[in-house]
């Protein structure tokens, strides 16, 4: 059992690395865009990029299946499992949409987002856990998976819409459109920053403990994963 679980975790890690590499290849694909006409067939960079993405996806699928075998239930039952599954669905949605529309630039956005989400997932407890009675139902398989799949596809279309806006809004002059676009980008960067910062502190096993008395006069102890002064000052 442990052996299978190790393979499963390793496959997830391999997928993670492959998505990272894939991002660079898609980056290369859009840079050499000038060589081919817009909307024409893929160039070599794009081809390698999508191949790597597919291999990564298959690895993550392997992680998913093995984990299912080890735990005896669909691995979407806690925050870690669900978030990695969501990341996987993101990649799957991207692959499907890539084959329909052949837009390499989408990969530059979709893959890093999937990466970040898997990184964020790794901050939650990762042990294989037993199902509480309320989750022991076929709905776990139906509802949770379809919700993640649907959200992932919507997320990819969000990325596509955002890329369109970046391309088509006239950036040379300040306007309502540019302001709102900046607002959206700010939020996105904040989220990315949040994930990166919490990942770093989590990797360093940081905790801060503080004591306080609540409004009912009861003494409370709190633990936090980020230095509060850092939070308050941002």
């Amino acid at each position: 059992m442990n052996h299978l679980l190790n393979i499963s975790s390793n496959l997830l890690f391999v997928a993670f690395i492959l998505y990272l590499i894939g991002t660079f290849f898609f980056g290369g694909a859009i840079r050499s865009k000038s060589k081919k006409a817009e909307g024409a067939s893929m160039n070599r960079w794009g081809l390698i990029g999508i191949t790597i993405s597919i291999v990564g996806f298959v690895c993550q699928l392997g992680y998913f299946i093995l984990r299912w075998v080890v735990s005896g239930h669909a691995p979407v039952s806690n925050m870690f499992e669900f978030t990695t599954f969501f990341g996987m669905m993101l990649v799957a949605a991207f692959i499907i949409i890539f084959f329909i529309y052949r837009t390499a630039v989408l990969g530059v956005f979709a893959l890093p987002v999937a990466l970040l989400i898997i990184a964020y997932a790794s901050m939650f407890p990762r042990e294989v856990n037993p199902l509480v009675p309320s989750l022991r139902s076929y709905w776990l398989h139906i509802h949770v998976t379809t919700a993640a799949a649907g959200e992932a596809i919507l997320a990819i279309s969000f990325a596509a819409g955002l890329i369109y806006l970046v391309k088509s809004i006239n950036q040379s002059r300040k306007s309502k459109s540019t302001l709102w676009l900046e607002f959206v980008m700010y939020i996105l960067i904040s989220v990315v920053g949040f994930i990166i910062i919490t990942s770093i502190f989590h990797a360093a096993n940081y905790t801060q403990r503080f004591d306080w008395v609540d409004k009912d006069g009861v003494e409370q102890v709190g633990k936090h994963g980020l230095p509060l002064r850092l939070l308050l000052s941002t």
């Binding site: 080890v70 735990s71 005896g72 042990e127 294989v128 856990n129 037993p130 009675p133 309320s134 022991r136």
Partner: protein, 547 residues
């Protein structure tokens, strides 16, 4: 006002902007337009002419999509307000809602409560918002669907020249010898267009059904709202909570006192390291206990005909069942689900009479915390009388009287008179958990704790929902409508020969990018020119102005 007869011979309803049949602009404004607004085929949707009666005014108000969107935005904002603090159904039951919001959330909570937000989703004004959305759905749909359907049904092959000129995709060119309508017709058929021919002119159309998608999904929503409304009809919807202890028989709420349930046994299983999947061991180490299964073994009873509440013994057994989480007990359209539990509620408490100096004990007293006795006889010469029992002891009143706040023995306390040979008149002692008070001076004897018995209390929810199928049907129709409208585009292409010129126009309800590509593919190699996007020309000019 009379119906408008077009020069092509077709009679249009009053208020029509473009002739339903040939598309000629019937109003001055339409004739002045560079590009027609094709959203409803120029049909008579909004009739400003009869804005006279109050009925028309109300109708026109609700037929506005702007109004509909505002209603949705308002409902969204209102819904979010109800999530700031827990709704009143979710509060713990020991305080009234008014007290709770004030105590827990201060003046903000108090204000929130005063505004009536503690039952927001059941409040009259919220329901009125939802109802207004429903009304808007009905009227918007009727107001648009009927004219649109008419127009699309009455359209003919040879369109008026003005109509063609004012389509977004349009081109005209001189007729040349190498143009082949026949080839175009073939290509159109290959692309699954339905092609009609009249006087050598072509009209190709496909996917008209997708125009009805939005109206189908509106029908789905309306059915859904009807289902939700029906929940208010008595008997259609029941959602109650039943707490029942092991051994108790209680009326099932929501069944009009007809059905009763007896809790025979409550079982709680937890995951065990060594017995269950060893992959879970790490998680169990970190978290502790995780429930694996909990269930209530019950017997369902039906009250016999003519039996009255309070009359015991007039029950007919219906069946036994084991209610597990996600596996309810089902009977007569009701479902009883295992929801929660309170383990180890006190059932009995055993104390022993003890001489404080010698530490010798003189017998045990087992007190049923739900039905204690007056007197407990021990061995010869020893007796304990219960003079006071306080199931949920909360403290002493000003006059010294012990207080109890409920009949549930969560914190039992007793006032004993202990009789022994040395004290024939008895000694008085007050005993509570971790508290021993001797009100009349020091006693020689005391009642010391010897043990407890507990039992489990099970929480079951009682559900009855005769509206569920309506909601499901409404939801399904909604999805069908969404798919119908979203995944296909209604495309039309007109080809005409007129006075030495060939005119080509095209229209689609969405995705002009797609139809342009298709047109290019269809006309490729046919000698005919590809229609230009008249809107893009305008847009480019505007962009130039900006920079």
């Amino acid at each position: 006002m009379n119906d408008m007869k077009c020069e092509c011979g077709h009679v249009n309803p009053v208020g029509t902007i473009l002739c339903e049949s040939c598309g000629k602009a019937l109003t001055e404004n339409a004739q002045k337009e560079k590009l027609h607004d094709m959203r409803y085929e120029g049909s008579a949707r909004r009739s400003q002419t009869y804005n006279k009666t109050i009925i028309d005014k109300i109708w026109n108000f609700f037929s506005s999509v702007k109004v509909g969107v505002w209603l949705i935005v308002l409902t969204l904002v209102a819904s979010s307000l109800g999530t700031i603090f827990p709704q009143k159904d979710m509060l713990p039951t020991n305080l009234t809602p008014e007290e709770y919001y004030h105590k827990e959330y201060g003046w903000v909570g108090q204000l929130w409560y005063k505004l009536g937000f503690e039952d927001l989703y059941g409040s009259w004004w919220y329901l009125l918002l939802i109802a207004a959305i429903g009304v808007s759905l009905v009227i918007c749909s009727l107001d648009r669907f009927i004219p649109l359907h008419r127009a699309l049904k009455n359209q003919r092959v040879t369109r008026h020249e003005g109509f063609m000129k004012r389509q977004r995709l349009y081109i005209d060119a001189a007729i040349t010898g190498d143009q082949s309508f026949a080839k175009v017709k073939e290509r159109l058929k290959e692309k699954h267009y339905r092609v009609k021919e009249e006087h050598g002119n072509l009209f190709a159309e496909k996917n008209r059904f997708s125009r009805w998608g939005p109206y189908v999904n509106h029908i789905g929503l309306i059915i859904f709202l009807i289902g939700a409304m029906l929940r208010f009809v008595p008997g259609m919807y029941v959602d109650e909570l039943l707490w029942i202890r092991e051994g108790e028989t209680k009326v099932i709420p929501g069944t009009h006192e007809k059905y009763l349930l007896k809790n025979n046994k409550f079982i709680l299983d937890t995951y065990q390291k060594g017995k269950d999947n060893e992959a879970f061991n790490q998680a169990l180490d970190r978290v502790g206990t995780v429930a694996k299964n909990f269930q209530t073994n019950v017997t369902l009873y039906k009250r016999k005909e003519g039996a009255l509440p309070g009359e015991s013994g007039k029950l007919a057994k219906v069946k036994d069942d084991e209610i597990k989480v996600n596996h309810p007990l089902e009977f007569a359209h009701y479902s009883v689900y295992q929801m929660d539990y309170k383990p180890n509620e006190l059932k009995t408490m055993t104390l022993q009479l003890e001489n404080k100096k010698t530490k010798k004990t003189f017998g045990q007293v087992k007190i049923d915390l739900f039905n204690p006795k007056d007197v407990y006889d021990l061995q010869k010469g020893y007796k304990v009388k219960l003079i006071g029992y306080y199931p949920n002891f909360t403290g002493f009143a000003k006059d010294g009287e012990p207080q109890s706040s409920s009949p549930i023995p969560d914190n039992p306390a007793f006032l004993f008179r202990m009789y022994s040979p040395e004290h024939p008149k008895g000694e008085v002692s007050f005993v509570a958990i971790r508290q021993n008070v001797e009100p009349l001076g020091n006693n020689d004897y005391k009642m010391s704790f010897a043990g407890i018995e507990t039992r489990n209390v099970s929480a079951l929810t009682v559900h009855k929902d005769l509206t569920l199928w309506i909601l499901a049907v409404g939801g399904a129709i909604f999805m069908i409508g969404v798919i119908q409208g979203a995944y296909w585009n209604h495309r039309r292409i007109w080809l005409q020969r007129k006075e030495g010129n060939v005119l080509i126009a095209a229209h689609t309800n969405k995705n002009y990018y797609g139809i342009k590509k298709e047109l290019a593919a269809i006309l490729d190699g046919t000698g005919l020119p590809v229609p230009k996007d008249q809107q893009e020309g305008k847009k480019e000019k505007e962009k130039e102005k900006e920079v």
